[in-house]
Amino acid sequence: MGGACSRKSDQRDNEEILHRGVSRKYCKSGSSKWLATSFSRPAIDIQLGRGNCPPLMDLCIRKICEDIDRYNTFSTLPRDISQQIFNELVYSQRLTDVSLKAFRDCAIQDLYLGEYPGVNDSWMDVISSQGPSLLSVDLSGSEVTDTGLLHLKDCTNLLALNFDYCDQISDRGLELISGLSDLTSLSFRRNNAITAKGMNAFTNLVNLVKLDLERCPEIHGGLINLKGLSKLESLNLKCCNCITDDDMKPLSGLTNLKALQISCSKVTNVGITFLKGLPKLSLLNLEGCRVTAACLDSLSALAALLYLNLNRCKLPDDGCENLSRFRNLKVLNLGFNDITDACLVHLKGLTNLESLNLDSCRIGDEGLVNLTGLRHLKCLELSDTEVGSSGLRHLSGLANLESLNLSFTAVDDGGLRKLSGLSSLKSLNLDVRQISDAGLAALTSLTGLTHLDLFGARITDGGTNHLRNFKNLRSLEICGGGLTDTGVKNIKNLSYLRLLNLSQNSNLTDKTLELISGLTELVSLNVSNSRITSVGLRHLKTLKNMKSLTLEGCKVTANDIKRLQSTDLPNLVSFRPE
């Protein structure tokens, strides 16, 4: 309990990208998104029914939330208790504009209302009544307008504000918060109304550390106002198509800048030259920018650079020799460029690389020999390349490799033996049609695997015997059509599975659902296009953690699933058919 005073750490940009390294955009199921999504309670974590006796305090708070209409004010309660009641109301979705009034003058510190339904200007009065106590407010996705922001000017100690997707806030709103000079974090994603003129407000926010203007299309010319923000460390301008080389110029003096994201902007080599003098810049996202290989020359001056995203920059081999100068890089994304094996020669010396993305590049077996020395590689993306079995031998020494994507390559069963020594491997994507049971047999030594994608591989019941070696699997996809209920018997003991995709195996019957009814960790299940019927749904009652269930093309209706959801699967938030 308690913990009411910690600010929610809002590090999603850096973290998200550094951790994932390789873009997961092209994983078919978006599986990792499900697995990472957390719906846990923010402050109070009551675990009923698990032997843990709930404290009286929690029982009372829940009771208050149930009877919230009876309470006029909590202002005389200690601040940490009203914070707990507030958090519980948000969690249980009981907070309304009416019940909010009880929180007037409660000196609450954190108000996290991101994506909360119904938030509008009428809430701002109570929000601002927290006065100097208020430290952070998240109103992303709300209906709040400029008028609403007027209230915030009394909350002089505010540190963090989030107005992502608040499309009714404009330049005028910015002006209204320009007095909150303590602000360290400010976010206005996808705002069409903020323009260069309004951004004049930023000149006052001298303590800003983090500024997020992702998808703001009208901010061209406004960055001049950031010039004096010497503490700024992170600036997100992703998908701001208006940003040009001129906008880069004011950034050249922000010497504390560590992360800069200008993907999908109009910035060219000229703009990049302005970044040369940023000594602390460690993350640079240029995905889809109109740069050429010549920009590498300017970038090589950035001694602190660890992360470089050049995805979809249409780079040819020519000029890529400068890549060899980025010896400190940990993450390099070269996906969807016109590079060939000739370019990989220049990566040979980047021995600190932990993640490398070569998705859809024109590389083949020969080029991989240049990766043999990259001993720190944890993550390697090779999908949609010309890599085949003979190239895999160059990977067999990459002992730290944790994630490898070989989907849609020319790899076949015979080549997979080369991977058998990669004992750190946790995630393997093998959506390759020519892979069969024999290929799976060659992988049985990879007992640490947690994610295995065999989406299009021709796995049959016989091949599933090898799955028994992968006791740690969290996610598994076998959708090649060759599976029957018999094969599912070998899946039913993979007790850590959280995501299971068995769609397209048209012979699976309700028996399959019975077999997997013991996989209680399952969060997501897909058995589309099979012979599953509504009769079989009862076997899923045990899967209390289920959040997503997909049974398209089965004899199951949306109503069948809704019934199951209401009686037995309270956590189910997404299902098909809808």
């Binding site: 032997g51 006796c53 009286l56 305090m57 009372c60 009771k63 208050i64 009876r70």
Partner: protein
């Protein structure tokens, strides 16, 4: 039941509740009172006076103590809380750290 296994809890109005020590010590505050090394008055006399807790609330608190013990031993029932008592009960729970 031995006397030293029991403790007397006295409400603001002077109403006395004699309950098992085990139950009372579900409250971290009472636990500290009864186990703190100095010979505080409460430890000496085996009784605690709560001048800021009313009889109604103290009675409810005692019920919670026993409910808690039952719950911990596997009998998981609902603990009923009357709406009009909730706030006061919550403050008492905060005070008693339970």
């Amino acid at each position: 039941m031995k006397k030293e296994d029991m403790v007397k809890l006295i409400s603001a109005e002077g109403f006395e509740f004699v309950i098992d020590k085990d139950a009372a010590m579900v409250s971290q505050t009472i636990y500290n009172m009864l186990t703190s090394p100095g010979s505080f008055a409460e430890t000496q006399h085996g009784e605690v006076t709560f001048p800021e807790i009313s009889t109604t609330i103290l009675e409810k608190i005692c019920k919670y103590f026993y409910w808690h013990l039952q719950f911990a031993s596997g009998k998981e029932t609902e603990f009923p809380i009357e709406p009009e008592l909730t706030l006061e009960l919550m403050m008492a729970a905060n005070y008693l750290h339970t």
